[in-house]
Symmetry: C2
Subunit: 217 residues, 2 copies
């Protein structure tokens, strides 16, 4: 039987931005194999509980973060006999985005076992082939940002254009021109000003923005 029915898991790269750097959620494995290694959060498909693989991913995530995630998208499938010591396996890779003002919801869980890691840190060991998975996830996210402008799901509901630009820069890993960025954003229909809402400080106040009501990622 097992010859026709391989092990199927979903692994999730949950991203957020901390201190102007893109971060990804890592968990310390509580089970064999590779007990105590750091890895992307993942879990085994349960056909009796999960209607689809997306459900598996959501179930895994909510067990780690307890919050609803803003965006969840399938990126790739990796497969083979060597990637997991338990044998021939398939992993369906997802990425998800967590707004920076909800990061605390993750940390409340089980302090030692969860950690935000710098997404561009290459030297960190991870279990299985999760280094490869993380690389795929970062690339997918970058493509999304280049194309559609909008890491809105990583920000609080209201934010300034400077914050949005810093978030984009964190994801892309390179600086962006202020003028060009603002022009591109404003031509889009996806953002709107929050009337009369400003952030004050020792400088000119910054207009707050929010996603338009009909916004889709």
């Amino acid at each position: 039987m097992k010859e026709l029915y391989p092990l199927v898991t979903t692994d999730i790269a949950l991203f957020t931005v901390l201190g102007d750097r893109l971060h990804v959620l890592l968990v310390k494995r509580a089970n064999d194999p590779l007990l105590n290694s750091w890895a992307l959060p993942g879990g085994i498909l349960h056909p009796d509980r999960d209607r689809t693989l997306d459900d598996t991913a959501l179930r895994v995530l909510s067990s780690k973060t307890r919050v609803d995630v803003r965006h969840l998208e399938q990126i790739a499938v990796v497969s083979g006999a060597e990637r997991d010591p338990r044998g021939w396996s398939i992993s369906v890779l997802y990425y998800a985005l967590l707004a920076s003002d909800r990061v605390h919801a993750v940390q409340g869980e089980s302090v030692d076992a969860v950690q935000w890691g710098d997404a561009y840190d290459r030297g960190r060991p991870l279990a299985f082939d999760h280094i490869l998975l993380l690389e795929k996830a970062v690339n997918a996210l970058r493509r999304k940002v280049e194309q559609y402008t909008l890491p809105l799901h990583l920000l609080p509901e209201r934010f300034t254009l400077s914050e949005l630009q810093k978030t984009c820069e964190a994801i892309l890993g390179r600086p962006l021109d202020k003028g060009a960025f603002r022009r591109r954003i404003k031509d889009d229909e996806t953002l709107e000003e929050v009337p009369g809402a400003f952030v004050r400080g020792p400088q000119r106040p910054a207009q707050l923005y929010r996603a338009s009501s009909d916004f889709r990622f």
Copy 2:
């Protein structure tokens, strides 16, 4: 056991261009379920034979076409309890491209059971959720062509720019401007002229081109 190990298949949208229209390979199912329905070619993962899912896809394809396929890429995964009457299943969807001068290699196989269908024909019934899969595959292919210019894998080794343009138009489903198209192609590094090779006819001879030696899709 079956609760943790769902049925895993790969399905493949194999594209070619016939008469300036994008076509996809369809097979008449020789087994239950849905015996005699038309479907995308697909097959069950055999972990003992296939090193990865890509191998599954290649195995399925070679059993239908007997030729090496120029390009094979994973597009998406669909899953759930309802899509296959045998129960909870996962399908990993691929697309592949067949050069138009190799189409004959497919037709030699088992004449009644294989057919090239117009990829944009919406009214045709297909087994399982393969209408959806085909739509996903066409969209993925379109994105590729828009981004990277290059359906070279659908053409013979040597071809004219007009042929390339017609192929692009077939995939995108809309006409392209000749001037803009040629400019874009020539700025790219991916094509080179075949010195002294022309196609003759009752009009001005057309320069033949080929992919540069370092070409990647």
